[in-house]
Amino acid sequence: MTARDEVLARLRAARDAGGATPPDVPRGYRRTGAFAPGSAEVVARLDETLTDYRATVHRVADEDDVSEAVARVLEEAGATTFVAPPGLPARWVAAVTARVRPDEPPLSVAELDRVDAVVTGAAVAIADTGTFVLDALAPDQGRRAISLVPDHHVCVVRADAVVSSVPEALARLDPDGPLTFVSGPSATSDIELDRVEGVHGPRRLDVVLVGPM
C-alpha cells in the first residue's frame, strides 16, 4: 500500500466511524459591507483603517494628481531609484525625478536590494481591515519579489478598487496567481505582544488613495 492509499484508507475509515454526513453550513454573516464599493464613505473608511496600522495615506481627487503625490513621497523618503512593474501606468510616475528601474527583464534579488523603493497599483482594497491586495499576474502590480525586497512601498489605490468587506474582496480576486494581502507595513507582535512596525517586509508604506474626498 502506498502512503497515499494508506492515509486515504485510514481517513475514510475514521470519517465513517466519526460521522460522514456533511452538515448544512450556516451562512448568516454579511457578504456585503456597510459602504458601497468605490463610494466616498468606503474610501474615507479605508483611509482611517490604513492609517490606524501605520501606513501613510495621501489622498488625491483625480488620477492626474497621482504622479505629483508619488514624486513628493519618494522625494521625502530620499529615494533616488524605484522599481516599476511592467504595466505601471506611466502617468502615475510622470512627475517623479527618482530614476526608474523597470523590472523587465526581471531584476535580480541583489539588484532589488539596492533599489530604494517600489511603486505598484493594487487589485482590490478592503476598508474594514485596512488592507490592499497585490495580484502578481496584474501588470501594474508585478511579481511578488519587487514589492517585498525594496524597503519602501508606494501603492496607488483607485476608488473603484475599494470595497468594504473581506467577502466582497475575495469575490473580486482570482486565486490562480500569487496574491499578497498587505495591511500596514511589516510588523511583529512577538515582543510582549506589542505591535512594532518594520521587520522584514518594506518598513515604509505609503498609499496614494485616488478618489472622492
Binding site: V7, A17, A145, P178, G184, A187, H200
Partner: protein
C-alpha cells in the same frame, strides 16, 4: 493489532485510524501536567511575562471583535465549514491533490512524522542545499523536522522573530502565535547579545531595536536562500490555493525568494472553496493578534512561471489525525485554526505557560488535541493528565472563533483517561461523576465538592488526583490568595468580583 500479510511482512492496522508517531517527543512531555505546572507556578518572572502578554492580547482581541457585528454568524459559519470538511475529508484531499498537481505542484503523502521528515530531507538533498529558511509552522514542530534536517547535515533557520528567539536560546515554543511569549524584552536582548555573532553590542531592549537586530541578522540569509519550508493556514481544495498568514514579512521572504518551496500540512488544514476564506480571514486575525487584519497574508496555487519558487512540494500528513477524526465529538479538535485565543483567556495557561503541557500544542486546545493525537498509552501516560489542566470555566469556548466545545472535550478526555487507568480509584469515580454532571452546573458544583472531599481524604499526592476541577490544589496553594480547599471555580468566581 498486528496483521500477518502472508508473505512474511507484518503490518499494524493497515488502513485503520492510527495514532501519531512522535520521534522527537514534541507531542508528549516527560512529566505529568501537575508536576510541570508546579514548577512553572514557582517561576515569578515567567508568570509576570505571561500575565502581561495575555492581558495585552485579551484587550486587543476584545476591541476588534467588538467592532464586527456579525461575529457570532461568522463563528457559526467557521464551525460549519470545519464540520463539513471533517465529513468529506478524504474526497477534499483528493480534490486538493488534483488541483495542486494541475497547477504544477507535486503532492506527497506522509503516514506519520518520520515519513514527513524523510520526504522533506530527501527533497532538500535533491536540491543540493545544506541550508533552508523556515517560516513558523506547527506541523514541522510536531514532526521535529529541524532535528531530522540537522541529523542529515542540513541547517534549518527559523525566521519568525519569536521562533528565532526560541531557536537561539535552545528553548521550546510555549504558544502558537508567540512561541517566545514566556520571554520579556530584556531576556530577549540578552539572548541576542549572546547568540547573534554580528549584533551591535550596544543593543537596547527597546522592541524596535530588537526587531531591527533580527532583520539584520536574517536579511542576507533570505536574499541567498534556495530552499524555503513553510506550513499552511488554509489549503483550498477547489483551487489548490495555499495560504500563509503572518506579520513580519519573513513568510513572504521564504515563500517568494527561494527556488524550491516545501510546504508541510496536517490533513485537516483544508477548506472546500476559495470563498470559504472569507470566513476564516475575518476570524483568524482578530482572534489571534487582535488585529483587523495581520500585516501579510500570502496565497499561491502551484507554480507561477516567472514568479516565486519554480518547484513546489506539498506534503499532506496524517500523523494521528485519523485517530482524532474517528471520534464523533473529539474530531472537533481538528477544527482548530491555531489562533491561540483559548490560550490567552485560559486562567490555567496564564499562570503555567505553555511548557507545562509537554506538547507543542499547549493550552485548552492542546489539552484535548495532544492526547487524541498520541492516544493514551496506559495509566502512566503523561498525556492522560492534560485534560485535567483546566477549571472547565468555559472561557475557551467563548473565545474560540470556530466554536470548538473545548470544555465538553476536556470532560470526554478525562473519561478516556479514566478508561486507560483500568482500575478505578475513588478519584476516578469522582471524575466520572464530574463528567456526567457537566450537563447541569448545579450538579457539577456538587461533583466538584465531592472531588475536593476525595482530596481531603488523602489522595492529593497521587498524580491523577490533581488538579481535576478542584484545581486550587496545585494552583491556589502558590501565591494566589486562596485557601487550599477552595475549588478553582469558586476561586475564579470570587476573583471576578474583586
Amino acid at each position: 493489532m498486528t496483521t500477518d500479510l502472508g508473505n512474511g511482512r507484518m503490518t499494524t492496522d493497515l488502513g485503520m485510524p492510527t495514532v501519531a508517531s512522535d520521534p522527537h517527543h514534541h507531542l508528549r512531555g516527560t512529566e505529568p501536567f501537575p508536576v510541570a505546572a508546579h514548577r512553572a507556578l514557582a517561576d515569578t518572572q515567567l508568570r509576570q511575562n505571561l500575565g502581561h502578554a495575555t492581558r495585552t492580547i485579551r484587550a486587543k482581541r476584545a476591541g476588534v471583535v467588538g467592532e464586527v457585528d456579525d461575529w457570532e454568524e461568522l463563528r457559526r459559519a467557521g464551525e460549519g465549514v470545519k464540520a463539513d470538511v471533517m465529513a468529506r475529508l478524504p474526497e477534499l484531499l483528493e480534490q486538493l491533490e488534483a488541483s495542486v498537481t494541475a497547477r504544477g505542484g507535486v503532492v506527497h503523502w506522509a503516514r506519520d512524522a518520520e515519513e514527513a521528515n524523510r520526504i522533506v530531507v530527501d527533497l532538500v538533498r535533491e536540491t543540493g542545499s545544506d541550508e533552508v529558511v523556515k517560516v513558523k509552522s506547527m506541523a514541522t514542530q510536531e514532526t521535529g523536522l529541524n532535528e531530522a534536517l540537522g541529523a542529515a547535515g542540513i541547517a534549518a533557520l527559523e525566521t519568525d522573530l519569536a521562533e528565532l528567539i526560541v531557536q537561539l536560546s535552545d528553548d521550546t515554543p510555549s504558544h502558537f502565535l508567540v512561541p517566545a511569549i514566556h520571554r520579556n524584552r530584556s531576556e530577549i536582548r540578552d539572548i541576542f547579545l549572546r547568540e547573534m555573532p554580528d549584533v551591535d553590542p550596544a543593543l537596547t531592549d527597546e522592541p524596535r531595536r530588537l526587531a531591527m537586530a533580527a532583520r539584520t541578522h536574517l536579511r542576507r540569509k533570505f536574499l541567498s536562500a534556495t530552499v524555503g519550508i513553510s506550513g499552511v493556514n488554509f489549503a483550498v481544495a477547489d483551487t489548490g490555493t495555499i495560504s500563509v498568514v503572518e506579520s513580519e514579512g519573513n513568510g513572504r521572504m521564504c515563500l517568494t525568494l527561494p527556488d524550491t518551496l516545501i510546504t508541510v500540512m496536517g490533513v485537516e488544514k483544508i477548506v472546500p472553496t476559495w470563498s470559504d476564506l472569507e470566513v476564516f480571514l475575518q476570524l483568524l486575525p482578530r482572534s489571534s493578534t487582535g488585529e483587523r487584519m495581520n500585516p501579510y497574508t500570502s496565497t499561491w496555487s502551484g507554480v507561477t512561471p516567472g514568479d516565486g519558487p519554480q518547484a513546489f512540494h506539498l506534503v499532506l500528513m496524517d500523523n494521528g489525525r485519523s485517530n482524532v477524526l474517528a471520534s464523533p465529538d473529539g474530531r472537533q479538535a481538528l477544527h482548530c485554526i491555531r489562533c491561540s485565543a483559548c490560550l490567552n483567556v485560559c486562567p490555567v495557561y496564564e499562570r503555567t505557560g505553555g511548557h507545562a503541557y509537554g506538547s507543542i500544542y499547549p493550552g485548552p486546545i492542546g489539552a484535548v488535541l495532544s492526547p487524541q493525537l498520541t492516544g493514551i498509552d496506559g495509566p502512566d501516560d503523561v498525556n492522560a493528565s492534560l485534560p485535567y489542566a483546566s477549571s472547565l470555566c468555559g472561557a475557551c469556548f467563548d473565545a474560540c472563533p470556530v466554536r470548538i466545545d473545548i470544555p465538553h472535550l476536556l470532560v470526554q478526555q478525562r473519561a478516556a483517561a479514566v478508561e486507560a487507568h483500568g482500575r478505578p480509584t475513588a478519584q476516578d469515580v469522582a471524575m466520572r461523576a464530574a463528567a456526567t454532571a457537566m450537563a447541569s452546573p448545579r450538579r457539577f458544583s456538587l461533583a466538584e465538592r465531592a472531588l475536593r472531599l476525595g482530596r481531603l481524604l488523602g489522595r492529593s499526592g497521587r498524580i491523577r488526583s490533581v488538579p481535576g476541577p478542584g484545581a486550587s490544589a496545585w494552583f491556589g496553594a502558590r501565591d494566589m490568595p486562596a485557601p487550599p480547599t477552595e475549588t478553582f471555580r469558586e476561586w475564579w468566581a470570587r476573583r471576578d468580583r474583586t
